[in-house]
Amino acid sequence: MALWMEAGSEPKTETEIADLQAIAALKESTALELKENGNELVKKGKKHYQEAIDCYSRAIDQKALNDQDTSVLYSNRAHVNLLLGNFRRAFNDSQHAIKLSPANIKAYYRAAKACLSLNLLSEAKSYCESGIEKDPSNEELKKLAKQIDLKKMEQEHREAQVSKALAEAKELVSAIEDRRLKLGNAMYRELTGLRKPVLDKNGILHWPVLLLYAEVMSSDFIEDFCETDMFSAHLDIISVYHFESCPPLPWDEKNHYSREAIELYYEAGSGICLSKTKILRYLLEGTAAANVESIGEEEKDAADGYPHGNSAGSSKWVKVNEKRTLHDVLKEPNFIIPMIPVFYVVSKRSAFYKDFITGKWTPSV
């Protein structure tokens, strides 16, 4: 506002000049008063925060203070916004404050805090560093910097875990594909839970295998069945645990399920072959990467939902030659592995055997 008269302009009367000066002073004191009010309200507690913000906002609107003081207003408002959890607004206010007064250390602190809460970790770090540059002895900023570093490390660690889980699962899918195995939907999830096949450091697959005693639908698990192992070896071990020990299987009173009498079968025939993507999703369940959105599904999966086997929809029982390795049996073209291989155990000596063989029995799903 010009306080002297230009040559040739309307002379302002002394009263007009005085009035204008009075208005300016009034605005200035109003702004300062509002600032004080705001500060008081903040001290009073949570219920008054919004009101405090209003005070600061009105103070800013007066447009009566210099840059340095206005910067303080913005930075105070940022502080309350932080307390209220309005991190985006706090960030904007802090930025404003810094622009108006680059020496406003508190503004840097609040900007960094806001960024930290918004998970903008690199920005948070850089605001912290700018603040420390201007005030090297500021302990609060240093503490905040350490906090940010810690969070960054945690984030990187998490990301590394996700990448690792994803890479491992992809390797597994690749190994399954190389062996031309067909995988279908998991069955008996209540029994198998989150069990998955595992690739060892020699590139050999180890499978958890579910054994179901069809006659009573009781179950057993072989936790680590290496694909190069023969069935006979594992059956030998199980029979030591169960059949030859006293007492035998609790429900097998007549001891039909002795080592020589048992036979193993798998269900062949119809079912849906899962696509690579679906298999990958199953393998990622329960891992760090379970919620990853895109897992490279760009290539069109040829086998997606591809039905396979008997068109009649009936399945049949195929006997397993126990002198074969797991891999040899799994790669049979008519075997659609329900994620975790399932084999049905029956005894030649039991009356149930005939029903099973003739297909009169079906597993209750």
């Binding site: 050999i204 698990f221 070896a233 071990i237 390795t325």
Partner: protein
Amino acid sequence: MATELEELIDFLTAPSPPVKKAAVGIVRGLTGSEDGLHSLSNYANTVLSSLSRLLSDEKEVSEPAAEALVNLSQNAGLAAKMVEMGMIKIAMDLLYKPGSSITRLLVMLLVNLTQLDDGISSLLQIGDDKMQGLYVMKLVRSFCRSSETSDDPFDHVGSILVNISKKEEGRKMLLDPKRGLLKQIIRQFDSSSPLRKKGVSGTIRNCCFEAENQLQNLLLISEFLWPALLLPVAGNKIYSEQDTSKMPLELGSALSIDREPVKDPEIRVQALEAIYLIALQEAGRRALWSVNGPRILQVGYEDEEDPKVMEAYEQIGSLLVHGNETEEPSTNTSK
């Protein structure tokens, strides 16, 4: 004699068939001697290209031409030149021309040419993305089929495979499960031809050098691999029921009956070396135990008299003793 030799070489490309025939006969004779080879190698480029052109002529000319080239290719420098001028492609193209009468000779030529690194690369068709491995596939197929014919012209292919499996790219190609080459090759082990047996045995042994990185590609054909590796070193006795019950069918039934011993000690050594390479890996040892392999080696060792072979048995023995503690397949069962 120089000008006479030059004239002779010129005659190889003469338009008159009887002249060509006479010339190539003389050249073939020259290649049979050190001096002759030496003189001819001064004109290597001309001689080699003229001879290779004669390969597509009728039998009376192509046969001596092929023989000459086979002799010349025993010299490393000349072999290198041949590879450089694309002899591998020429040979492969001619090999599969219907009515070819020089099949065996061409195969022998390839054996000599694949003694060189460049020859191997050329046969593997490494640079060519689309055609890579086509030659090898064709040769393996011929190798497997020709055992049924009376004259077996492809029996030397085994030696080609031994050569290419000296190189990592060759091993990778043979082990690639998508191509299924090793599986086909191993089946030839049963052949009665000692040349075939040796070729198969040497190839498997070389491929086992990839056990560290590609163990699964070896173990997943164990149905065929173990018989080929263990039967030659299983000794002469008939195995007991107790022993064979722990083996897969193909091993167990073969060892329950009288069998022809493998006479060539080199084949026995190669089999043991291959087993050793597999047993260096944990999963390899596990697989060996699961087919009752160590028992077979124990029995076989008892019958062995050749010192080199005995040493190979002992090498595996100490590896198995000092290997991991848990050798038996472990199982956790839970309800």
